[in-house]
């Protein structure tokens, strides 16, 4: 993480040429919104796709498409090779030990539902506790709420500090013998906080508590190694890492996946079927019922190739510079309060402006070509925790520029002028 002195920040900064070059890979960044160039600061909701990934998907449909696994003909073999090749890319990208630990799902949400249903139902009984952090996305709350109602388990909230960091002391105290599962996101989509996953995983492993980590907001921003982290389950989505929608990954430790019953039933996840007796296929196929998202898995593989082709260390430090610059710029706008000021953050700022509803901010910014998200960000408990109805969120990716942060700040100034905001 670079530290940049305030002197530099208060001046306009110039975006490095390497970033401008990368921008050329993303056709949508040339969009014009109402005569203004698009400033896309909604990467937390979904990231944009580089030309390389689009081309891979199109080429797949032009030359190789067929159903996988079940065919002896060449197209089917090619599709299977591409599809399973992408699985190996995912494995290597997140440092899993085996492709058996890589389950394709339709997204983070589906991945967590799989764990909640297959692992949760089998391992929770009345009186057991599920610890869930107060900064979770609904994807890591609602499935557990549903399972808790079914099993009689209890949901206990891990509190967070005022700066949006996890209260680790409280967490350690909550870890009693009734706790069976701990659910934490690697990075909060509402606050930007990066959580100490390794520390959490070590504490849980000691007590045989399963860790379910929602990596949706981490995977596109910095390298993740699930084995180093020591987690049991890790979930993420293709569309948050410059890949396609309709695809996600559940990483699960082989031993745990092995012990679990399938979530969905259908073709390809069974070894044999009669009306009286069915035997499940081996890992990871046991969890992949039906025709999988073939083109999307291949697109995800292409997104990984793309990320690997970049200097990710540079991008990570560049994104930190964007964050610091945005902090500085936002602090100059009257009435702005940033929600989430923890020390470790990805390049994302949630904020409120005195007396102006985020929805109005969003609309006015949109009129200036600046795309931000406003609302609760599918993290209502975070809003409740900070006593606010909603925030405006500017979430950056490595293709954003300092000039775009300037555009954000200029547009926000128009908001505060229009609404007559003072500090």
């Amino acid at each position: 993480m670079d530290t940049v002195s305030n002197d530099i920040l208060s001046q306009k900064r110039e975006t490095p040429g390497r970033i401008l070059e990368i921008r050329r890979d993303f056709p949508i960044l040339n969009r014009v919104i109402q005569d203004k160039p698009l400033v896309y600061l909604d990467n937390g909701a979904s990231t944009q796709m580089p030309r390389q990934v689009m081309d891979t998907i199109t080429a797949y449909h032009e030359f190789h498409h067929s159903n996988v696994h079940r065919g002896v003909h060449q197209l089917s073999q090619e599709a299977t090779d591409l599809y399973e090749g992408a699985r190996e890319k995912v494995r290597s990208f997140i440092g899993a030990k085996s492709t058996k630990e890589i389950v394709y799902t339709s997204g983070t949400t589906a991945a967590i539902n799989l764990v909640a249903n297959s692992y949760g139902t089998a391992n929770l009984t009345k009186g057991d506790k599920i610890l869930i952090s107060n900064m979770e996305h609904h994807a890591n709350i609602v499935p557990w709420y549903m399972i808790a109602r079914k099993t009689g388990a209890e949901i206990v909230v891990i509190p967070i500090h005022d700066d949006g960091s996890l209260d680790m002391d409280a967490f350690v105290e909550l870890l009693d013998e009734k706790v069976k599962i701990v659910c934490v996101n690697h990075v909060s989509n509402a606050l930007g906080t990066v959580n100490p996953i390794n520390e959490i995983a070590v504490l849980c492993r000691e007590k045989n508590i399963a860790t379910v980590v929602d990596g949706a907001q981490a995977i596109g921003h910095f390298p993740v190694d699930v084995t180093d982290l020591g987690v049991d389950f890790y979930a993420f989505s293709g569309h948050k890492m410059h890949g396609p929608t309709g695809i996600g990954i559940l990483y699960g430790r082989e031993e745990l996946l092995e012990s679990m019953e399938p979530f969905m039933g259908g073709g390809d996840m069974i070894l044999s079927v009669s009306f009286d007796e069915i035997s499940w296929n081996e890992l990871p196929y046991k969890f992949e019922a039906g025709t999988p998202p073939i083109a999307q898995a291949i697109g995800l593989g292409a997104a990984i190739d793309y990320l690997n082709s970049l200097d990710r260390e540079f991008l990570e430090s560049y994104e930190q510079q964007l964050l610091e610059y945005a902090n500085e710029k936002l602090s100059q706008i009257p009435g702005v309060r940033i929600i989430g000021t923890a020390e470790g953050k990805i390049s994302l700022n949630s904020f409120v402006i005195n007396g102006v509803h985020p929805h109005d901010i969003g609309t006015i910014l949109d009129g200036e070509g600046v795309a931000v998200r406003t609302g609760q960000h599918c993290a209502e408990p975070v809003m409740d925790r900070f006593g606010i109805p909603a925030t405006t969120r500017a979430s950056m990716a490595f293709y954003n520029t300092f000039e775009e942060i300037d555009a954000l700040a200029d547009a926000l100034l128009k908001v505060t002028e229009l609404f007559d905001v003072t500090d």
């Binding site: 203004k36 929805h359 009129g367 609302g375 229009l418």
Partner: protein, 152 residues
């Protein structure tokens, strides 16, 4: 300060003023009709209170709530407009407003919509139509004796 047309269209003086100084912003003690409105997409929440007399005339109307400028101004202006109107007239006004907000008619098509024309800009912003119409939907629900309404 230059705002693009779309935003300028929407955030006119009248809306900003009603947002800052909402009219009839209070609860009515013993309303004859009441409903809660809810737009979960942006967290807008409104309570609408009405007193309707035996001739079906709205003798008092008020609101309390939290929301964006559009929803708040819409509620405020609504209260000023429906007072002393019959329920029938209120329904007609709602209909006209709804058609204007969704772009089905122009504000100039109907003189009764004159004082609502500030909201005609939302038709270009589909995500905001619900903000503009929340108060009206809630009023409608109150008159139909539905207690809770959601515009999502």
């Amino acid at each position: 300060m230059l705002l693009t047309n779309r935003s300028k269209n929407l955030y006119q003086e009248v809306i900003l003023d009603h947002n800052k100084n909402p009219r009839n912003y209070r609860a009515i003690e013993n309303p004859s009709h009441f409903a809660k409105g809810n737009n979960p997409l942006c967290g807008d929440k409104l309570d609408v209170y009405l007193t309707v007399d035996e001739n079906n005339v709205v003798t008092d109307v008020s609101f309390v709530g939290d929301g964006c400028a559009i929803s708040k101004a819409s509620a405020s202006i609504m209260t000023t407009l429906v007072k002393d109107k019959t329920i029938d007239e209120v329904h007609k006004l709602f209909e006209g407003f709804h058609d204007m907000a969704t772009g089905k008619i122009e504000p100039d098509d109907d003189p009764k919509l004159r004082r609502l024309r500030a909201f005609s800009g939302v038709k270009d912003l589909p995500a905001r139509v619900k903000c503009a119409t929340l108060a009206w939907h809630t009023l409608d629900a109150a008159l139909k004796d539905k207690e809770i309404v959601s515009t999502e």
